[in-house]
């Protein structure tokens, strides 16, 4: 391929070149959004499952999705319907605020269960706030309904660009956290004697998880289950260390979201099936299939 071809591929296609538009302005950002969101959720899932030693933990349990939802609904309630790009900052702020709250509650707690339940309880509270807001404003309800399923088909570079640096930052922090988590896996007491700062490892892991989840919610809306399933697929691939697990879960997550997006287009040709719908179906079945073996009672 000549350099000129590459340049032509990257430059905006002519308005009448429908095929060029489909590939460059639709399939490319759509694929990138699916891959990025999947990778972020997969890595985040591996981290949170390792940290809480709970194979059923999902990054969504940290309340990031519902935080972003509240940010979006609150903005529309305040300002009326606005463009997709204008909703990015409030979604991000909402996600990070909830994350900070769960982090404050969970980071210092020794009990992994407290973290999960704190996230679940905060999610319940914010869902109630969100439902109150959409009751007062039918237009906010419409915007929320459109967003809540999670979709990548309308992904555009303007929307996924802000998510990319978050993904990289999250992956970087995650790699740092993974090393500490491996030390922790030897047991809290041993880790202490090995000089690993327990609290710092927890804080780092939570920060990485949250940032990754926030980047995913920006790129594709709230996608449940990816973070739950991807680490299990990675374990089937025999990823051993936390670092390997995280990276391979990122790969599995990316593949999963992309596959679900493609599956939706094959199952219902001609219709837009939001990727979140496909993943929820796959995820729900996977959960029921695997759950009995997964939730081993450590007590």
């Amino acid at each position: 391929m000549e350099i000129a071809d590459l340049a032509a591929l990257l430059s905006p296609p002519a308005p009448e070149d429908a095929d060029g538009i489909v590939v460059r302005a639709m399939r490319l950002p759509r694929t990138l959004a699916a891959l990025g969101a999947g990778a972020a959720l997969g890595a985040a899932g591996a981290l949170i499952q390792t940290l809480t030693r709970n194979p059923l933990a999902d990054p969504g349990l940290l309340g990031v999705n519902v935080g972003a939802g509240v940010g979006i609904v609150f903005t529309v309630w305040l300002l009326g319907p606005v463009s997709q790009v204008a909703l990015i900052p409030p979604a991000l702020i909402g996600a990070l605020m909830v994350l900070a709250l769960v982090w404050a509650i969970g980071a210092a707690s020794r009990s992994p269960l407290t973290l999960i339940l704190a996230g679940a309880a905060l999610t319940a509270m914010l869902s109630a706030v969100l439902r109150g807001l959409i009751l007062l404003d039918p237009l906010a309800l419409d915007v929320y309904r459109d967003w809540a399923l999670g979709a990548v088909d309308a992904a555009r570079f303007e929307v996924i660009t802000p998510a990319a640096p978050l993904l990289l930052l999250g992956l970087g922090l995650g790699l740092l956290a993974a090393r500490r988590l491996d030390a922790l896996a030897l047991g809290d007491d041993l880790a202490l004697t090995l000089g690993t700062d327990l609290a710092r490892a927890r804080a780092l892991t939570l920060a990485a998880t949250g940032i990754l989840a926030a980047s995913a919610v920006l790129a594709a809306g709230p996608l449940a289950f990816v973070g739950l399933i991807a680490p299990h697929l990675a374990r089937m691939l025999r990823a051993e260390s936390t670092r390997a697990l995280m990276l391979s879960a990122a790969g599995c997550g990316a593949a999963l979201v992309l596959a679900a997006d493609l599956a939706g287009r094959i199952v219902a040709p001609g219709l837009a099936i939001e990727v979140g719908l496909g993943i929820s179906l796959i995820g729900g079945m996977f959960l029921i299939w695997r759950v009995r073996r997964l939730a081993r009672d450590p007590a």
């Binding site: 009448e16 429908a18 538009i21 639709m26 606005v82 463009s83 997709q84 009751l135 837009a272």
Partner: protein
Amino acid sequence: MARALPHRRTGAIRAVLAATLALASAPPVVAEPVTIAHRWGETRVDSVPERIVTLSYTGVDAMLALGLVPIAYRTWYGGDARGLWPWAAQLMPAEATPLILRGEIDPAALVRLRPDLVEATYSGITRPQYRALSRFTPVLPPLPGQADFATTWDRMLLAIGEATGRRDRAEAVIAALLAEIAAVRAAHPDWEGRTAVVALPDGPAIFSENDGRTALMQRLGFVLPEAARGLGRGAFFFEPDRELTAPLEADVILWLDAGGGVEALRQHPLRHSLRAVREGREIVADPDLTAALSYASPLSLPYALERLVPLLEAALDGDPATVVEGMDATGLLP
């Protein structure tokens, strides 16, 4: 926003509405007690009601169309400070001070208004609420066999007309509106059999044959493009795959913008590949016209026709250079 005055008179409807307004101040017609069948049985209205509460989301429009001013009404979305859109605001007497109901139905507050009819055919009223309210006053819940929000404007208007002793008036309004639609169709033989899609820019989502908005276009002679038929599978709307433009390839595209829609259109990468867009056969309904088509009430439909017909004429005049009114302001034109 400056908006050009509508340059078409929907004469018959104006005449009927003027008549109903005159009627509003006239003494109520003496009527026999009427019994109206509905989903949960029958409601008997003994005398012509004067204090009417309407809980239907489009109820205030129906009342005003019959020349009635409710003492309280429920709003759906948007509108002016009183929750009224232009088509209803002009008919609501300035001196009237009806109570505006928002949020949940509050039966105790309603009863204290001492209504002699509570109209709720399009309201989502629950059976317990219906029963509690019925102890105090006749209540008109959804009609037989109708889901909460499936009653069409004409059935609703007839039922309300019957309950308020204004069945003749209701029939006249319905006949005038249907005649107006037929007249528009007759005046535009060139629209017959041409294709039209009504769609929301976000998605985009296309309204299928079951939806009132697409049904109105069909009453004007338009048909849904072959590629858009059947995709709805019985639902009111469907979202085609974003890469698939065939369902949108029509002789005219009517985008309904409830707010933020222009931005969504600008962001659709394939919009310019649509022939209707390239040839100036695209219409963006502003939030008022969108609401008029979505409310689909006996008042909003005349308003919608009055504004929509010139837009359709400009879009379908066979000259790509004609700018459809309002399109230049959206900044969507090349």
